[in-house]
Subunit: 330 residues, 2 copies
DNA sequence: TTGTAAGCGTTATCAT
DNA sequence: ATGATAACGCTTACAA
């Protein structure tokens, strides 16, 4: 591995001044065509590639790199979000540094520090469940920051969220519409922001339909598909539920498994779409959230901030869509 | 947004020389404890963060950043691969720049150039379907390079592939084992390396079982789930097939849809695992490939190269695993 | 142990 | 239009 040729090498090879090469490389037009020819030739002869890292340390210059910290790329939801960010970034000439925090605050903080040290131009962040250091304690200057999927502890921060309350409310409302009563809420811990919101939507829909809220129908410890399946099964055995609102896709899949083992199905609507939803019969109705749009929206806000514009609105709540496919029916 | 404090600012604030701050920041031990104290204080007071981009342009220094170019992060397979790379990179203090080529050669080449200009230390690459410029035409020096999932046109390149031939062979063999005859191959274009290999495995298994190869049972235009479903349906209507080898997960899902619409199922084994596989009954047997392991293996090879070691072996073919879940039976 | 000075590859100022 | 020369923030000989 030899050393990469520098702009200086090109200048020497083309017998012009360093600055002229710089001008050429930066697309300046006022250059003698003869010299352009010589420079062009020297560049291809030497195989010169500009060093953007070196250029970025000049005042007023940037790395043209965005940072994205999510919880786990392997999760399809965050993968889609990543794609959204990437598409916008790339279309605007930005590279994207990605990293997964695994919901760990300390790890998350380390990644933030690392990206700031690398001088990314902007940071898009999914706050981890187990939060770490408060944002207020991070010394300025901070790069443009946008939080996605969950709110952050930073006051007045730019945020892109999904309408968890509205989505859960409409899903539950559909289940209420059938002339039946008891609708189970199956999900993860209510300490999680999204779960809390979906639970709120669930309660609002019940209230809308004059159904009394029953704490015993709410299960918030379905962390895995298997746990969700067991939960739904036991709720079905008690015979006290007539329908299921699955508050995340693990709960949806768990419900399907419970239906399959008990040989009996109940009306079901899930939150967040999943691949298998179309394959079961009836197909599973879901509240779908557009993760990719979330990502591209966040990236757009970062770009606005980088352009010196304050994005309007400062924060966004993206609507969800209720996809009725049959499973909501009795 | 004020200007970030520099090492010089810290030196002035702590009333020491620039070099001493540099020593401290780089973890050198031989520093007067009194000065350490002063420097530490100045750093927190000013909120100093080192500028890694600036450090990286010094000779012998690197950006400690890896680049990863895949076809699409939103594809669960590549998302898993990304996670594998990311985990290893992050554990070794490397940041990861990711980008999707969308299988487009020109786009891919642009991303490669961009990452090389940004001076990433190493590049992990999934060659796009519609290839662009040959690697031999890229002027040196090239960073350490590892190709994943598909072979590249670069002679002697380090590569990490899945055992597509072996996986398809074992899957087809299982279907041959049942005392039946005609096994359909449903997949995408055979021009794709992975498809070609899986088709080869399919043929080898047929030969192993003394079953004659019938070109009419091979469909290589199932680009989408819907197309695959239609293909399988029409094959079933002709009544000429007794089993299906689905050569990718779109074909697997399409087969399930065809079974559902025709109300009749055939023995089925798919290539590449998918979420819905466990939900259908019987559960779908698949050849599973460990994309995450592929990513971590590739990252490990890059790290070896960066450490000056030649990785052994220079290229890897990762085994696949045949997961029998019931759908392979009559 | 600490400081001075040079230099990494680039861009910007300001003469020419 | 072109070219010396000085930055940018950092590390490292080399001197003190």
């Amino acid at each position: 591995v030899s050393k990469a040729p520098t702009m200086n090498d090109v200048a020497r090879e083309a017998a012009v001044a360093l600055k002229t090469v710089s001008r050429y490389v930066n697309g300046k037009t006022n250059i003698d065509p003869v010299l352009v020819e010589r420079i062009q030739a020297a560049i291809t002869r030497l195989g010169y590639r500009r060093n953007l890292a070196a250029a970025s340390i000049r005042p007023g210059w940037t790395s043209r790199t965005l940072g994205l910290i999510i919880s786990d790329v392997a999760n399809p939801y965050y993968a889609a979000l990543t794609r959204g960010v990437e598409t916008v970034a790339s279309a605007n000439g930005y590279l994207l540094s990605t990293a997964s925090s695994d919901e760990d605050g300390a790890r998350h903080d380390r990644l933030v520090d690392r990206m700031m040290e690398q001088r990314v131009d902007g940071l898009i962040i999914v706050p981890p469940r187990r939060v770490g250091r408060p944002w207020a304690s991070v010394p300025p200057p901070l790069p443009p920051l946008v939080f996605v999927d969950r709110p952050s502890d930073l006051a007045g921060a730019h945020t892109v969220l999904a309408d968890n309350v509205g989505g859960a409310r409409s899903a539950t409302a559909v289940l209420c519409a059938a002339p039946a009563g008891r609708i189970a809420f199956v999900g993860d811990s209510l300490e999680l922001h999204t779960m809390h919101e979906r639970h709120t939507g669930y309660r609002l829909a019940l209230a809308d339909a004059d159904v009394t809220y029953d704490r015993d129908l709410v299960s918030s410890d379905a962390h895995t598909v298997e746990e969700a399946a067991r939960t739904v099964e036991s709720l079905m055995h008690t015979g006290r539920i007539d329908a299921v609102f699955a508050a995340n896709n693990r709960a949806s899949v768990g419900s399907l498994m419970a239906f399959s083992t008990t040989g009996r199905r109940l009306p079901l609507v899930g939150f967040d779409d999943f691949e298998a939803a179309l394959l079961s019969s009836p197909a599973v109705s879901v509240v779908s959230q557009d993760a990719q749009l979330m990502g591209s929206t966040a990236a757009g806000m970062i770009l606005a901030l980088l352009a010196g514009k304050e994005p309007h609105p400062a924060s966004v709540v993206l609507p969800t869509e209720l996809l009725l496919r049959g499973s909501e029916l009795r």
